[in-house]
């Protein structure tokens, strides 16, 4: 009987998730349809896409090529039309949401997965920047795919993880660091250094192709403008001081999650803790370029910690504390 009721509750959450997902997708595309002109940086990717299929040099060689390759690929079938791309790019964000839910459901249950996915994709930064022809949604998708294959028990998962890591790099260079963090933590959890070698065997050819392709096209490869490669110590407090505007009050619960013993018992959580800390440190260490949009890719890690804190609170035995107090 208990089993049946659990199944009903589980499928109920799946049902709620599907309904919410459909509503979210409609709102998402309603916003996309309002966009009459692409964002500044979007135009760089569009012009670069044009350059990739002609003899012209890339307009902006610091831009990762993946998005422009996708655009050029679509245009080769449809003819050059930015409106098609406007509607295509948000698909990656929506797909990332599905994969994140499916993955977390497997490890943490439907309710937990729903909480993390909802909190992540309702974040205005994730919503807004993913509606644009930019690399935010694309890299989020490949990063989530890296996580998905990284945790998979499939025989070829290490190779697939590597391929996804490479594609994360191709879609937005600095986000590869977050993918590498996920992979390294997984290797530590598995106590298997060979896992790292297998992953990087999958990633290296893609990274090499990307670097070589850009180099051959423009005669140089630079992953970012020179100012963006300057780092400072101690890191800036920009993101932590603006936590409320970036993540909302829920962010207060993220550090709380780390205070529960239960968090540290489950090694699965380590991935998200490291993902959050490394990404936050990386972006905070930049010498001058601080933007809430940089938080998009590790929003799932923040949401995970928030929901984990709630789960920990709900399962914590407060009577032990109250009894202790009474005993005194």
């Amino acid at each position: 009987m208990k089993k049946i009721s659990r199944t009903i509750i589980k499928s109920k959450i799946d049902f709620i998730f599907i309904i919410s997902y459909v509503i979210y997708s409609i709102l998402f595309y309603a916003y996309v349809s309002m966009m009459e002109v692409p964002e500044y940086d979007s135009a760089d990717y569009l012009v670069n896409a044009r350059a990739w299929v002609t003899n012209e040099r890339l307009y902006s060689d610091i831009r990762p090529p993946m998005i422009s390759w996708i655009i050029a690929g679509v245009w080769s079938l449809t003819g050059e039309n930015w409106i098609i791309i406007k509607y295509l790019m948000p698909v990656f964000t929506l797909a990332a949401g599905l994969v994140l839910y499916k993955h977390l459901k497997e490890y943490k249950g439907s309710m937990f997965a729903f909480g993390v996915t909802a909190l992540t994709f309702l974040n205005p930064n994730v919503f807004f920047w993913s509606t644009q022809i930019l690399t935010e949604g694309l890299s989020l998708f490949f990063l989530i795919m890296t996580l998905y294959f990284c945790k998979s028990k499939n025989k070829n998962s290490a190779l697939l993880t590597g391929i996804m890591l490479g594609l994360t790099f191709a879609s937005r260079y600095p986000i590869a660091l977050q993918a590498i963090t996920i992979v390294i933590v997984e290797a530590i959890i598995r106590k298997n250094p060979k896992y790292l070698v297998r992953v990087f065997t999958g990633a290296a050819p893609i990274i090499l192709i990307v670097v070589l392709a850009v180099y051959m096209k423009n005669g140089s490869f630079s992953g970012a403008i020179s100012q963006d490669t300057l780092f400072i110590f101690p890191p800036s407090s920009f993101y932590l001081s603006n936590w409320q505007d970036i993540w909302g009050f829920g962010f207060l619960l993220a550090p709380l999650a780390l205070m529960f013993r239960r968090t540290w018992v489950d090694k699965y959580n380590y991935t998200f803790i490291a993902w959050f800390i490394i990404a936050l440190l990386f972006w905070s260490s930049n010498s001058y370029n601080y933007q809430p949009r940089f938080m998009v890719q590790f929003s799932p890690a923040v949401s995970f910690l928030v929901i984990l804190a709630i789960e920990n609170i709900s399962r914590f035995n407060f009577s032990l504390i109250t009894n202790k107090i009474k005993g005194r």
Partner: protein, 159 residues
């Protein structure tokens, strides 16, 4: 008393209230940001038709000299090549720059210039000075009240 339930509910309320507040704040922030950024045309229905009109007037194989082009937006939507007259600091040097390179077309983004020296030339009042050297082809206003002026170098200058 069930403290777990109480604290869980409190945490859930914090998260949901925070999220609602976050959405409310950011929705207005994004809108304001979009409006305040110079040349941001996200919701401007006139921008692309204007670029199409300019493209229709200027032959594709001819380069357009432009007062300001900080992004690739115009490079993407205007069919002709766009060039910024770096080093130019007056109407006279602009005329010489274009004559030497056999460039005929000038597109002015009103009140905006890549250099401070030309700001006075490309503002509303300064544009009148261009009439001595250029023939005004058309003037375009976007919904966000940005103005573009298309000029062609007068024929006698090139001879």
């Amino acid at each position: 008393m069930n403290f777990s339930l109480l604290f869980t509910l409190l945490a859930v309320v914090i998260v949901i209230a925070g999220q609602i507040q976050l959405i409310a704040i950011n929705t207005s922030n994004f809108e304001n940001e979009v409006k305040s950024v110079e040349g941001a045309f996200y919701f401007d229905k006139k921008f692309i038709p204007i670029m199409d009109e300019i493209s229709a007037k200027v032959p594709q194989n001819e380069t357009i000299v432009m007062s300001y082009n900080s992004t690739s937006l115009l490079d993407y939507f205007i069919k002709s090549k766009i060039e910024i007259p770096y080093g130019v600091d007056s109407l006279e040097s602009l005329k010489n720059y274009m004559t030497e390179r056999k460039l005929m077309w000038l597109l002015v983004y009103e009140n905006v210039s890549h250099t401070k020296d030309l700001e006075s030339l490309f503002n509303k009042n300064g544009l009148k000075q261009l009439d001595s050297v250029f023939q005004k082809i058309d003037e375009y206003s976007t919904e966000t009240m940005s103005k573009f002026h298309l000029y062609k170098l007068k024929p006698q200058i090139t001879t």
